[in-house]
């Protein structure tokens, strides 16, 4: 993902803003940044991802220092092309069917159309599992001058979302989610500690119009009910804590 990779270079010493990085990036890192949707990611999935990321990880284009792999040395025309394109050619191997990948703004289809199509597919198909394919929500951060949009369906856990948000708004630190991705809402004092810190805390508006702390429900439920995200200072989010603890207690 463009955004992801850009932010990576910022972390690494930030003398580029956007665009090329000169650092070498391992494929592994860039795989994650592709934001491959769907659960899992182990085993067979990884092989497919690597094949596709070699081909479509378009941000690799910028570091021509990458070693091209799988190039047919007999193809003279190939050597004349950009290295990036060389990486691409290995993908024509049918044994590695391309996995899903996501590049900002590609394919060039209006999000309106994307959203309509996925809702339509959901409703009219009995075979579909009913999971929405897209869930674009606006993200705002207190103090940041711009809004972003994220597709929640690209992530499979709070951890991934948290990472992505951290990269998008890189100069702010967002409080981490617990090891299982769920905040420990049952422990009120732990929660209060988190909120009293100077970290930023992600909150969201749910279907009922209530503002909640991110992390209080299982991931899938969150994706279904989240309408928009707002990253606010921990201290400001304190008001939401009692509600969160309430809802959590009710559920268990």
């Amino acid at each position: 993902m463009e955004v992801g990779l850009k932010m990576m270079s910022m972390k690494g010493g930030g003398d580029h803003f956007g665009g090329c990085e000169n650092e070498k990036m391992g494929f592994e890192e860039t795989e994650l940044r592709l934001g491959l949707p769907g659960g899992g990611g182990e085993g067979g999935e990884v092989v497919r991802k690597r094949g596709f990321s070699e081909t479509v990880d378009l941000k690799l284009n910028l570091s021509s220092k990458q070693d091209p792999s799988g190039i047919d040395p007999n193809d003279e025309k190939v050597t004349g092309l950009n290295k990036e394109k060389n990486l691409l050619l290995s993908a024509t191997d049918p044994a590695k069917p391309p996995a899903k990948a996501y590049v900002v703004g590609w394919p060039p289809v209006r999000s309106f159309r994307k959203n309509i199509l996925t809702t339509a597919t959901q409703k009219s198909s009995s075979v579909e599992s009913g999971i929405e394919k897209v869930a674009f929500v606006k993200v705002s951060m207190d103090g940041a001058p711009y809004l972003r949009k994220v597709d929640l369906r690209l992530y499979t856990s709070y951890h991934q979302l948290s990472d992505a948000l951290a990269k998008m708004f890189s100069s702010f630190t967002i409080g981490n989610c617990g090891s299982q991705g769920l905040k420990d809402f049952m422990n009120e004092s732990k929660l209060m500690d988190l909120l009293n810190g100077s970290d930023y805390v992600p909150t969201y508006e749910d279907k009922d119009g209530d503002w909640m702390l991110v992390g209080d429900v299982p991931w899938e439920m969150f994706v279904e009910s989240c309408k928009r995200l707002r990253i606010m200072k921990g201290t400001e989010a304190i008001g939401l804590a009692p509600k969160a603890v309430e809802k959590c207690k009710k559920r268990s």
Binding site: K6, M10, D15, H16, F17, G18, G19, P37, F52, T55, V56, L58, N61, D75, K77, V78, L81, N82, E84, K85, L88, L89, A91, T92, P97, P98, A99, K100, A101, Y102, V103, V104, G105, W106, P107, P108, V109, R110, S111, F112, R113, K114, I116, L117, A120, T121, K123, S124, S125, K133, V134, K138, A144, P145, Y146, L147, R148, K149, S170, S171
Partner: protein, 582 residues
């Protein structure tokens, strides 16, 4: 002033009203612009008689200046955000606000009657002001806009007494589930066109039926998915004169009474030439539409994800007179073959991806396109999302269809070469531009080197808009285009290795163009600054999405997003913090 010898007729002998009457026949903006340059008196007459103005970039001139220039303004078209904003490349709040325009026109008592907007931010406040300021307001068309809710629509419905057209296409509208439709007063009988297909929420069905019943001029009606099948059937009975129909939900039990009634109702709608909608669709109900298919000239099934290829082809086989077809790629290559053999009058084809996220799954390839080119020689407009493309196919298409005005190809994997030869697609696109001398709009994809740009610069002499992504090898590519495409107005580039040399060498060209977009290219801040300094009639804007401020950056840093456009009014005042005006 007396020009020429006595043998020539001096047009200034004619009174102004005669000239004005003559100018009335000149509709094209370009021609009217030319007319106004002839002499002072023609300028004046044209100025006061001009009613329609088109602004392809709302920031090229300010509202006050526009009003001063054309005080007789009645119909305004405005476009706001750059095209790539449609694909999430432009952050929210970038700009393109409608309100200042409405405010200025209201203040100057402009007799506005028509407003058409694309990619603008339209607030409820601006819609309310609009509805109250222009007593003769007749037509509102919003395409890919955002920022308003159904409350704004309620204001339009309530206050625009002579509204003829309310056409909402693919807008992001916050639906407050109010009764905006019920706000049309009983006295409103002027509606000719109503399109609310993009709204997500419920509407008052009884109000809709009454509205349609009292609108004898209604020719175009496009419903949203909340309008159920039996309402559709009742609406058709009330409006058999419809020319353009967009169904809402098209799901019903084919053995039911409502379905039979629908079949009868639709058969009496002998004027329907354009059909769309089917946002929810039960395939078994499609046969009810067959009777009207032979008269259709436009069919839009691009939201009908529930229809499989065989259902689509069965339907299309009845549509012999089709001129425009918008469809999903699940039709497949074979299905396109059916289109090719049936729709010989076809001029425009758009094939959208049914799964825009899975680059591996597009169901159409170069084969479908070739078949269509063989069966539909009149084809002049194409938007084609596909799995792959070959040079051979493009060369064949170029031979079969020389009339392309718009050719937009989107291979879902944007740097995919010709899968048969492993070559870039330079030759294929080269054939297209060589063969289609009238080509005005081109979008490229697939593996492409500088060579394709060489061809474009050499042959695409009428090209006005070019969209490029993940293509090219060096600055030469961009320069071929800037130097060769004399009629170029819009150039948008993303993720290409074009840099400062190309940007700066093309400097002289940009004032002849509407705009240039470059994102994730090799352009540096320093070059943008230099360009801005040397060209005062251009606004050079940088979209900076990191937290860095001016002082932290040096000129050698690459710019992520640059958008420049010609303007008569200098820097805009509504730019948000993350947009730097150089």
């Amino acid at each position: 002033m007396f020009w020429g010898s006595r043998k020539t007729i001096n047009m200034n002998y004619f009174p102004d009203e005669v000239l004005e009457h003559v100018f009335d026949f000149i509709r094209s903006h370009k021609d009217r612009n030319s007319v106004s340059l002839v002499c002072k008196s023609w300028y004046k007459i044209e100025k006061y008689s001009r009613q329609k103005v088109f602004l392809g970039n709302c920031y090229s001139i300010g509202p006050e200046r526009l009003i001063a220039r054309f005080p007789g303004l009645k119909s305004l078209t405005l476009k706001g955000k750059p095209h790539f904003a449609d694909f999430n490349l432009v952050p929210d709040d970038w700009g393109g606000f409608l309100y200042p325009w409405i405010k200025a026109m209201a203040k100057s008592r402009i007799g506005l009657e028509e407003l058409k907007l694309k990619r603008m931010v339209v607030s409820d406040k601006s819609l309310e002001l609009l509805s109250k300021s222009f007593p003769n307001f007749k037509s509102l068309v919003l395409v890919s806009c955002e920022g308003f809710t159904t409350d704004g629509l309620a204001a339009i419905a309530s206050n625009c007494r002579f509204l003829k057209e309310l056409d909402l296409q693919e807008n992001e509208v916050e639906d407050h589930r109010g009764h905006w439709l019920s706000c049309f007063p009983e006295s409103c009988t002027s509606l000719a066109s109503l399109n609310f297909a993009c709204l997500k929420g419920e509407i008052n069905l009884a109000s809709l039926e009454r509205l349609v019943a009292r609108s004898p001029n209604l020719k175009s009606l496009r419903l949203n998915r909340a309008v159920p099948f039996d309402t559709l059937q009742r609406l058709l009975i009330r409006a058999p004169q419809l020319v353009d129909l967009g169904t809402g939900s098209y799901v019903h039990d084919p053995s039911s009474e409502a379905y039979n009634k629908f079949k009868a109702a639709i058969q009496s709608c002998k004027s329907i030439r354009s059909l769309s909608g089917f946002l929810e669709v039960a395939p078994c109900c499609m046969s009810a539409i067959y009777p009207i298919c032979e008269n259709l000239t436009f069919l839009n099934l691009s939201y009908a994800a529930g229809l499989q290829s065989n259902e689509l082809t069965k339907l299309i086989q009845h549509c012999k007179r089709l001129q425009r077809l918008w469809i999903l790629d699940c039709i497949g290559d074979k299905g396109l073959g059916v289109v090719a053999s049936t729709c010989n009058e076809l001029q425009e084809l758009r094939v959208f991806p049914s799964d825009p996220f899975d680059a591996g799954n597009a169901a159409v390839t170069e084969e479908g396109l070739v078949l269509v080119s063989e069966g539909c020689p009149k084809l002049n407009s194409l938007l084609y999302f596909c799995q792959q493309m070959t040079n051979a196919a493009l060369i064949t298409v170029a031979k079969n269809c020389t009339n392309f005005i718009r050719f937009r190809l989107c291979i879902l994997n944007p740097i995919k070469p010709d899968p048969v030869t492993n070559q870039p697609l330079d030759e294929g696109f080269g054939a297209i531009v060589r063969s289609c001398k009238g080509l005005k709009r081109l979008s490229l994809s697939g593996l492409l080197t500088d060579q394709v740009f060489y061809y474009i610069g050499m042959y695409a002499k009428k090209l006005e808009m070019l969209s490029v992504a993940f293509a090219g090898e060096s600055d030469k590519g961009m320069l071929y285009v800037l130097n060769g495409c004399k009629k170029l107005r819009k150039l948008e580039i993303r993720d290409c290795p074009f840099g400062d040399a190309a940007l700066l060498e093309g400097m002289g060209k940009y004032e002849t163009m509407r705009s240039l977009w470059m994102s994730t290219c090799e352009v540096t801040l320093g070059a943008c600054k230099m360009l801005a300094k040397k060209m005062p009639n251009l606004n050079v804007e940088i979209i900076n999405e990191t937290e860095q401020t001016d002082s932290n950056l040096d000129d050698s840093q690459k710019v992520d997003k640059m958008y420049l456009y010609r303007t008569l009014v200098g820097h805009r005042e509504d730019a948000p913090e993350f947009v730097w005006l150089l």
